[in-house]
Symmetry: C2
């Protein structure tokens, strides 16, 4: 009953008009051919696949779920055929190195693909999604021999990848992990242990799964400095590339979850499975972060994807559902009631969704472009600046996309009243599906601690200084513009509050070791809101340049931007107060009194 | 896997220490015997039933759900036996008139019963829950003949009640309803139409269901002024009280819902079913509101119930789950990690839950005591004041309890990380179950419009003036107390902001017909936060009086109250800003551009 239309016009707006992506990307070595036309063609093809193939399987996949029988995981009906089309279309290797058969396209485009696939079918998207990070880690850290065997099949999508981190007793704190890897003396290792919550750990979509597994070598130091990364295939690969015997990897069970029921979340048992070391001994966590950063951005995109889907369906319902009369007089006096979109409250919910989604889309695209620049720009200082910005924005994109995703899907469910609570309308599925995005790939608290702990501290605050410099340039460029004052003013204030709060936190946390944990979530949200305001300033600047075009698309941008500044951004006032309450309110209650 | 322990100490604290309920209640005619001992005994009995009988069926009921086969609805395994114990224990008729076999106990006690039953098993609680309102409406508006036939069986729980309001095309706007009632000439009516979303519309728990149905008489005016209320039994009742033939009432289907799966949500078909008029022709909506106010408070209690359940289980998990180290040094250096309750972020989530739950419990109890006073106090002016306060607080209790219920269950799920997303741990069920409470018995927007439209306007603002007078007395009494300054100060500020905002809204809405709808949800939340701050002031006043008792229970109250004032109440700052943005941000985008 839900529908999805890829928001191509909005995507092209941020890509071409706000960020002039063609100019930036074609200047990067290897992207010379990535013209606006190429990008548009890719987006249109992806939109068709998402609308026609993946979205029709979204509700049926939720209702059927995955099955686990006789050790075999089966994805819902239709997923296998859809995956075949997906992989044959080259989508698995969109950004992968052409040496391995990849298309070598920018991360910027990959973001839009992730958003569209996520909107169409969040569960489906996890199967190829986990391969993305796997490929990155192998390409960056594995030996040439391993790359030659595994990369082409992952790129083509014939095989899939999975990330095996979590164990029953260790999630956020990976230092506790117990899975062991014993050297066999021939360069391979015997991997033994149990991993849980393994997305796409197994399925009937592909013949082989390439597991990346965190485990400890016999001589490993305790804690997170003693973790190594191993490649453990489900099926061994013969010298000719054909599949051989089964490795000692098996699925123990699949989880019964709140949502993403079409995605198999596996308990994986490694019973002396043969594996190969990836990267240096005891440096597994660093290798894993190569894929984790990509996956974190991916999860942010998933959050946005559900907000977009929820918004679209709520708008349709709000225009269709007749109930009550407009407060300023009947809009359809000949009908028994007006559509509920006449009510300011319904509009508040819809505009909250839209003003957040559009800003997050712009921000996440921007962050992905920084990744492209950081990978390819000829100038080292430019690469570093871009890498800094991408690093700073990664936790914000992940926690922001997912956190607002939960809020927005809930708001849009509410537009449907009782129908929102009923399965057939599809809204409650979005709430259930998106909920995991606040948890996996590092909970949103882990993201906020990454921001407030690691990212603020790096290079003596270099990342935040870079952010402040870049946004200051925007304010300086635009603050004389009367026509933009209603946008630039609130952004400038938010930025000043963020700067002051950052300074306060840095100072306070010298004295108070609990301060960061006490304020990190509120701080990340304040940072995310400020970033969204920044994006709105850039978007309305672009829209204003077209104000004489007669195209109402640009008028809408101004209205939605105004909504953000007046009805969303004021959240910062409260966050500021809560942050400055410090850690005492949380810490003063003795544990026994909880 | 979840556990529930009724928070009896907290309940007794607000009942006896904060509100001196014995003194207030025993002064009311008919409640002379309701001593503190009687109340405590009732609470303890209820706690046992909830902990030992109802809660063990909560997760199994969710997993099994209700079934609908051959026209018959069956509740999950165990519900029938549990219901038998529940009704035989006299819980169905707790507040009902002793003339009909009821126990004639105060609404104040009924609130605690609703909270405990809701925590134990939200789905189960809906079966007897809907009977409550049915009994109220029959007792207040039906003929003596109808009362004689139906009340004793509803009071004993042998039969159940159901409210039939919503139709496929009309939910919030009941003026659109189409169900018809044609007079048979013998004082009975032929009722025809389809009703949807009918909680406890049918089940195998009882032999008869007493439906209250909104329908139109042939000469009915259009809109909501042409709606009448009918009593339509599932089974006819013989003169000797035994059950006769089946009435033309049937279940069309049951809904597949996000949650409350153990509760049957029915599509009800009335195919010329015989019914009896309740109250005056065309005055059905007013009769329905008799039961609706009770049910709205009940839904608020349901919200609180899930917050309490989520809090309890999250605390247990947070004390048990070892992950990471305390920021200010390891608390359990001999173990591999510290329990996550050492982290300020986890404590923030738990304390947010607890500080809101405790304030909402106090507020909802207070509101129920006002209902008792409004029903029974010998002085008419006192009855009116109490009725005003109960009327003002009803939408706040409903929308506040449910809205924070969704937030808090989600926060507590997050404490569990990935385990929170998995069915067996039970946290995701709470999120799914509580979500309906924001929708049914009038969506939270309907509540906020009731507050900002009807309740603010009544008697020239008499209700708000009453609230301001009562809270001003609290501030006046306590503002000289240095030991309470950290509580009274923030409450005073919040109250002043609420007063200013109220004034501004009243003025602006003269000029702007869309203003109320644009700000009502934010205004209700601001009002709810202010009420919670008020309750915290009263609670810390009571706790401070016992500060030399050596009982850490009272220390905890002060810590939790401080958390509320510094980490929750500051939300008001943002709400103030959003409200004052008015309706323009919502209304300026043309419908076509959504």
């Amino acid at each position: 009953m839900t529908t999805y239309t890829a928001p191509l016009r909005d995507m092209r707006f941020v890509l071409h008009e706000v960020f002039a992506a063609e100019k930036t990307l074609t200047a990067l070595p290897g992207f010379e051919d990535v013209t606006a036309d190429v990008m548009d063609a890719v987006l249109e093809e992806c939109a068709k696949l998402c609308q026609n193939v993946l979205h029709p399987l979204n509700q049926s996949g939720d209702q059927e779920g995955c099955t686990f029988k006789d050790g075999q995981v089966t994805a819902p009906k239709g997923f296998k055929d859809a995956y075949k089309q997906y992989s044959e279309g080259g989508w698995c290797g969109l950004t992968a190195n052409p040496d391995f058969g990849g298309q070598g396209l920018p991360e910027a485009l990959d973001y839009f693909v992730a958003e569209m696939v996520g909107s169409a079918n969040l569960s489906f998207g996890l199967y190829p999604g986990l391969s993305q990070g796997t490929m990155l880690a192998i390409a960056a850290h594995a030996t040439d021999d391993l790359k030659k065997v595994y990369m082409p099949k992952l790129v083509s999508g014939e095989w899939q990848g999975a990330m095996n981190l979590t164990e029953p007793h260790c999630g956020s704190d990976l230092g506790l992990l117990r899975t062991k890897a014993a050297p066999n003396g021939d360069g391979t290792y015997n991997v033994s242990g149990t991993k849980i919550f393994i997305s796409a750990g197994d399925s009937d979509l592909v013949d082989n799964v390439v597991h990346l597994v965190l485990a400890r070598l016999p001589d490993a130091p305790e804690g997170s400095r003693g973790i190594s990364l191993f490649l453990v295939p489900k099926m061994f690969v013969n010298a000719d590339g054909s599949l051989g015997a089964r490795n000692a990897v098996s699925v123990g069970s699949i989880e019964h979850k709140m949502g993403i029921k079409g995605s198999a979340t596996c308990v994986m048992n490694f019973d002396g499975a043969k594996g190969w070391l990836v990267g240096q001994p005891h440096k597994g966590l660093a290798c894993m972060f190569t894929m984790m950063n990509k996956e974190r951005m991916f999860v942010g995109a998933q959050g946005i994807s559900q907000s977009e889907l929820a918004y679209q369906n709520a708008v349709t319902y709000a225009k269709d559902r007749m109930q009550g009369r407009a407060a300023d007089g009947a809009k359809y006096p000949n009908k028994s009631a007006d559509p509920i979109i006449v009510h300011a409250d319904i509009r508040n919910k819809l505009l909250y969704a839209r003003s957040v989604v559009e800003a997050q889309r712009a921000l996440t695209l921007y962050a992905h472009m920084q990744v492209d620049i950081s990978h390819r720009h000829p100038d080292a200082a430019t690469r570093e600046r871009a890498d800094d910005m991408a690093g700073l924005l990664t936790p914000i994109a992940k926690a922001g996309g997912s956190g607002f995703g939960s809020e927005i899907t809930n708001l849009c469910l509410q537009v449907f009243g009782g129908h929102g609570y009923v399965r057939e309308w599809g809204m409650e599925q979005m709430v259930r599906d998106v909920r995991i995005t606040e948890i996996y790939e590092g909970t949103n608290t882990i993201q906020s601690l990454d921001l407030i702990g690691r990212k603020l501290g790096l290079g003596g605050g270099r990342l935040v200084k870079g952010f402040m410099a870049e946004t200051d340039a925007v304010v300086s460029r635009l603050q004389g513009r009367n026509d933009l004052a209603e946008f630039v003013g609130p952004f400038k204030d938010a930025r000043a509050k963020l700067a002051a709060c950052t300074q306060w936190i840095v100072e306070q946390s010298q004295k108070d070791p609990n301060l960061r944990s006490a304020v990190s979530n509120d701080y990340l949200r304040m940072f995310a809101l400020t970033c969204m305001a920044w994006m709105w300033v850039l978007m309305v600047e672009s829209a204003t340049a077209k104000k004489d075009s007669g195209d109402s698309f640009y008028d809408a941008k101004l209205h939605v931007g105004r909504f953000f500044m007046t009805k969303v951004l004021p959240q910062i006032a409260s966050l500021d107060g809560m942050i400055r309450a410090g850690s005492a309110p949380a810490m003063n209650l003795p544990e026994a009194l909880f």
